[in-house]
Symmetry: D2
Subunit: 222 residues, 4 copies
């Protein structure tokens, strides 16, 4: 079992664009050092290298494209993600859906480049397919709960525990995260109780007036 | 007429990923200051903010997505491009094609955010449609010549002059750039002679062993 | 000026899937012959050839892909549209958005194959770009009114008249259609008064219990 | 074990557009009846309903979109595929790639509509993910061999046998087909020997001057 973790997805929220995103990344790093809980920042795409260079935070890319380095205007390669200093990447979020062919190739290419992979999924069927690709993490997030007020751990605890159970049989090395509506340490405690090894969250932290306080409260679950 | 310019598109070339991209951006800035010729760097997406913060170069984004700030994992908003410190963006490169609906919206949204727009096109018909959207620049690049050894100004000078002529009638405020195979000051001189106000280039600079020398040679055309 | 026309888009509505779509196409043909008003049926993609073969109706494809004949599984070529007996095609509906590069190429390829082109647009800016490609028709449909109860001719008459005015200056051979919420002959009369040469409609006919009666009423506008 | 089958994908080849496609479908039906070997025709999208109505052949759609019936211009629903009389559909060909989210949903929706599903894949990793979705068939086709002269069964027999072995462990109800370069009964015999329950082919039949003779020769493998 991996060390539990909290992944903070900055998405394209205006609250964490540019300089304000750097502040949030700094908060992630500070609280992670204070508490010993691993907190991963996922800054906006164009801010990725700068956020890492400025804050020294642990960061993942929000996405990556299945293209090799070369003449590929506007695309982000696995190599560019690594070059920016990120240690991992989300793949296939509900808001950034991927072709299966590309997902399979990306998981392989990330592994070759020592980039941690977290494939985001929407239901049990997709989670099983994702797990069969052998990523480091599968993050289950029912899309209808994303950005909402009710945590997946309350609204649909069965989806988390079933995903944990089924994925064990497919690949024991794949860890399950859960997300959608996760807002506080109770939600995380419940997630861990259901077998998840961490959570993926966004608006609960990003839109908070005091993200550092929210992050501290979240880490108290571990 | 705008000031002539040279746009250097870093694409996803491994030669200018991460730290080496910063060096190229620094070279762009140095030669621009030495010569008075405007040189725009288009760093890789995840390096954009860092390249600008580190070097103070003038930079454009290689691409931008037609989404508003919010829950849009993996997407780059116009606001994020501006927040990263870029002054402009390419839109619709042959390697990063856009929906017409999105292109129209992006040109408007960039204008509202004071982001310079350069719509890349592949032929005269697309250039006319692009110009009717009112971007700052239309950059004509026949795809079959991109990354090759023969400059568009030699291989197909008519496409440049015709584009210049036709676009004047559509919107006199749209400047024409040209690209594909552009490698030296002769190519640029020819481009200017054909009515273009600058060039878009990539491999000729990016893959050079001495980009600064290449950039200096290029600026001698003006 | 072309002969006024009514284009009936079957979309993917279950009411006109398979056999029931053939009945609607038959109704289109019957009312067209009775009244002398040109009525074009746009059957569902997989029903296109069968609807034409069975009813002899005048039909357009709902869409077409910018690919040449060959190893292109799942794609619909201009040649296949022609081979199915259709005389035209919609291109770039709000529900089926196209890359500008593909749209330009499709208009040329359709012209070469004598397939009438109707580019659907969402606003004035996109309509101008579309017109510059030289299609036979531009059909302006504000997306927020599509499928609704209020006709574009009541909700936003200015968008129709402005489109007609501006497109004249771009290409006098391009005819303007309008759509979104169009339900009855009053809406069509108003569209014609605003300068449109016909209408594009869907739910008003497709979901009617008596499409033939609706079609007859619609043609009374001419 | 299901009955062995030969799936003939018409793709977008000009040789089988319109009327000539109907002739090939008729040949498929004739040879199937003569020999007792199941032969499935996959006509071009716009010809699907007409080919079935005219010939009574057993047919699958070349593709289907993950949308529900309604206002979805240019899209093909599972319901439309069923309404056209097809008994199945290909999903996710190399030439028509799908999002994983859509593939999962499509397999479920096809099952609900009694439409046989054949997910096409390019390698072992994707095949495993595809099998975990529970389709009726997984058809493995290395893209570099598609349309070529060397059969996958000669060029890479291991990919077929490994796929058969691995997929048994994932879902014993999923049958494996193979394709790419398959041209004659020897290729099919080898495929069956490797554990495949049938083949997917295209150019070898479609581009033949005597498709009926080719089909007869192919069936001799069973």
């Amino acid at each position: 079992m991996k060390r539990p973790l909290i992944v903070v997805n900055f998405k394209a929220y205006s609250e964490v664009c540019g300089e304000r995103g750097i502040q949030l990344a700094r908060d992630c790093k500070t609280v992670s050092e204070e508490t010993g809980v691993e907190i991963i920042a996922c800054p906006q795409m164009v801010d990725l290298a700068n956020t890492i260079a400025t804050t020294g935070c642990t960061a993942w890319s929000q996405s990556v494209d299945d293209v090799t380095p070369g003449g590929r205007t506007g695309h982000t390669t696995v190599e560019a993600v690594a070059g920016a200093g990120a240690s991992g990447t989300l793949i296939n979020h509900s808001e950034c859906r991927k072709l299966l062919f590309d997902m399979e190739d990306l998981v392989v290419r990330c592994r070759d480049n020592r980039i941690t992979t977290c494939v985001c999924t929407n239901n049990l069927g997709v989670s099983k397919a994702a797990a069969s690709l052998g990523p480091d993490y599968v993050a289950i997030e029912p899309p209808e709960l994303i950005g909402g007020d009710v945590s997946v751990t309350s609204a649909d605890p069965g989806i988390v525990s079933k995903t944990v159970d089924e994925l064990k049989n497919i690949d024991g090395n794949v860890s399950v995260l859960c997300g959608a509506g996760v807002k506080n340490s109770k939600d995380i405690s419940k997630a861990v109780e259901l077998g998840a090894e961490g959570v993926l969250l966004a608006s609960g932290v990003v839109k908070s007036k005091d993200p550092k306080a929210v992050l501290r409260e979240l880490t108290s679950a571990f």
